[in-house]
Symmetry: C2
Subunit: 274 residues, 2 copies
C-alpha cells in the first residue's frame, strides 16, 4: 500500500490571488524537470516580480513536444525546494503541467507563464519538439502570455548569469507591455559570458533542422535497437533568423503563433483545387 | 532471455525503389497504432496508387503531439497484417516512425507521406496535440509532401466509406499537383454517410479549443489523481474555418506550416522593443 502523499488543493482551497500590491501571478514550468538548475535560475531571476507558483514535471520531459496525457491519470506532489515559493511536481508532460496548474492549483489564469530555463537550444525547428516551448504555447492557447527560455548549454553545470539577466529584461518588458493574451516568445540565450552578449534581437524561426541518423546496436539479449541522434544543419542563410542572431552573440526572441494555417498555400489551393 | 525478433534491414539491405512503372513510394503511418481500422482503410484506399510501406506505432499514441524518443532506444518489428504491403511496427511515437522509416527502412525520401485515418477529429487546435498530424508535419520538415486524415468518429467500428472516397481524391490530387515539398494538409472528414458529403473545402484552422477540466478521484490505495477531460468550444465564428466546413458536411482541408513565427507580432516588437 502506498503511503499517502499530500495532493493538490481542491477547488474549495484558497487559490493564489493578486496580493494587495497587485503583484502579478507568474506560473513557472519547464521540461527538464523540477529539480533542474535551469528552473531554479528562472525562479530566482524573477522571484521579486510577482507571486510565483511552480508546476513542473517530476522527471525530464525533453523532446515531448505538445504531448498530453490521455490514457492514464496524473498526480501532483507538493514540493519544498524553492524558498518561499509554492511548488508542485507533476507526473505528466510540460503541457499537462500548464493545464493542471491553471485548472487545479491556481484556479485562475496567471498573468504570465514562463518556461525553462531549458538546458540546450530551442531555436529554429526545435520549437516544435521542445517541451519547454510547448508549455509556453499551451499557456498562450489558454490566453496566458508566455515566454520559453533556453540556454545554449546542455551542461548540468551551465553558467546561467547571462540567461538570468535577459530573463529579467524580457519578463519586465512583457509585464509592462500589455501584449496580446496569445503572445508567445521563444527566447534563446547564447552560451557566452554575460559581458559578450550584445543584447536581444527580434527574429524569425530559421529553417534549420536535424539530419537524422540512428545509432544501431544489439542489446545484451541480441535484439537490435535504434537510438536517435543527428547533426544540426542550418539551411537558412537569412540574417533575420534566430540561428544567425545566436551565432552573433545576440539573445534571439522569436514571436510564436499556434495558428498553423499556411495562408499562402491556402490561397493557391483555393484557386487550383476547384 | 528474450527471443530474437526480426529487426529492420540495415543499410546493406535492398531498399524499396521506384518500380519500372515509376510508381510513387507512399509512406503510411498513424497514431492509433498499426492494428487500428483507420490505417487499414487508408492502406486499402490508396494501395494501387503506388508502392506502399507502412511504419506505424505498435500501440496507441494519440495526443503525443510532436514528441520524439530521446532517452531510450527504439525497435522495429516486421509485421504481416496488410496483404502484399511491407509493414513495420515501431515502439516509438508517430514522429519517430517517420524518422525511422526514412532513415532505416526506405533509405530514401518517399514521394508522399500519409498519416491516419485517425479515429476522431483533428481540426482546429487539435493539429497541435495530434500524433497523426505531427507525423505529417515531420514528413514535411523532411521535405516530403504529406497529408493527415481524420474521421470525426472515435468508434472502433466507424464507417470509413466517405473517408476512403476523399482520401483517394486528395491523394490523387497531391500526386498530380507537384506541390511544394514542405506541403502538409490537415484533412478532416465528417462522420456522415458518404452520400451526404458535399465535397471538400480549403479552410483555415479555427480558433477552437478544449475548456479543460480534470476528473479528480482517489485510487484503490487512497492516493489522489487527476484525469484529463474537457469540453470542446469553438470561439471562431468564421465561415472559412475547418470547424464550420465540417459542421456543414464538407471535408475540411487546411494547409499547415511549421514556421511558427508570428510575423505580425515580430513587426510590432521590432518597432516597440528597441
Amino acid at each position: 500500500m502506498a503511503k499517502k502523499i499530500k495532493s493538490a488543493p481542491t477547488k474549495r482551497s484558497v487559490a493564489p490571488k493578486k496580493t494587495k500590491s497587485h503583484k502579478p501571478v507568474i506560473l513557472i514550468t519547464n521540461d527538464d524537470g523540477i529539480t533542474a538548475p535551469g528552473i531554479k535560475n528562472l525562479v530566482e531571476a524573477v522571484k521579486d516580480l510577482g507571486k510565483i507558483v511552480v508546476v513542473a514535471p517530476d522527471k525530464p520531459q525533453s523532446g515531448m513536444g505538445h504531448a498530453i496525457t490521455i490514457g492514464q491519470p496524473l498526480r501532483l506532489h507538493k514540493m519544498h525546494i524553492f524558498e518561499d515559493v509554492e511548488s508542485w511536481a507533476c507526473t505528466g508532460t510540460p503541457v499537462d503541467c500548464v493545464k493542471l496548474a491553471v485548472d487545479k492549483i491556481l484556479h485562475r489564469k496567471p498573468d504570465i507563464c514562463l518556461s525553462g530555463i531549458n538546458h540546450g537550444a530551442n531555436h529554429s525547428i526545435n520549437v516544435i519538439y521542445s517541451g519547454t516551448m510547448s508549455a509556453a504555447v499551451e499557456a498562450a492557447i489558454e490566453s496566458i502570455p508566455s515566454v520559453g527560455f533556453s540556454l545554449l548549454d546542455y551542461s548540468i553545470e551551465a553558467d546561467f548569469t547571462g540567461a538570468r539577466k535577459y530573463v529579467r529584461i524580457i519578463v519586465e518588458k512583457m509585464l509592462k507591455a500589455k501584449l496580446d493574451k496569445h503572445t508567445v516568445l521563444n527566447v534563446n540565450i547564447p552560451a557566452s559570458p554575460v559581458e559578450l552578449l550584445k543584447g536581444f534581437k527580434i527574429c524569425r524561426q530559421a529553417y534549420a533542422k536535424y539530419e537524422e541518423d540512428f545509432i544501431e546496436r544489439n542489446d545484451p539479449h541480441g535484439r537490435h535497437y535504434y537510438w536517435l541522434t543527428g547533426e544540426f544543419v542550418n539551411f537558412d542563410k537569412g540574417k533575420d533568423t534566430d540561428v544567425w542572431a545566436l551565432a552573433n552573440n545576440y539573445v534571439s526572441v522569436v514571436p510564436v503563433q499556434f495558428d498553423l494555417t499556411n495562408y499562402t498555400l491556402k490561397a493557391q489551393l483555393e484557386k487550383s483545387w476547384k
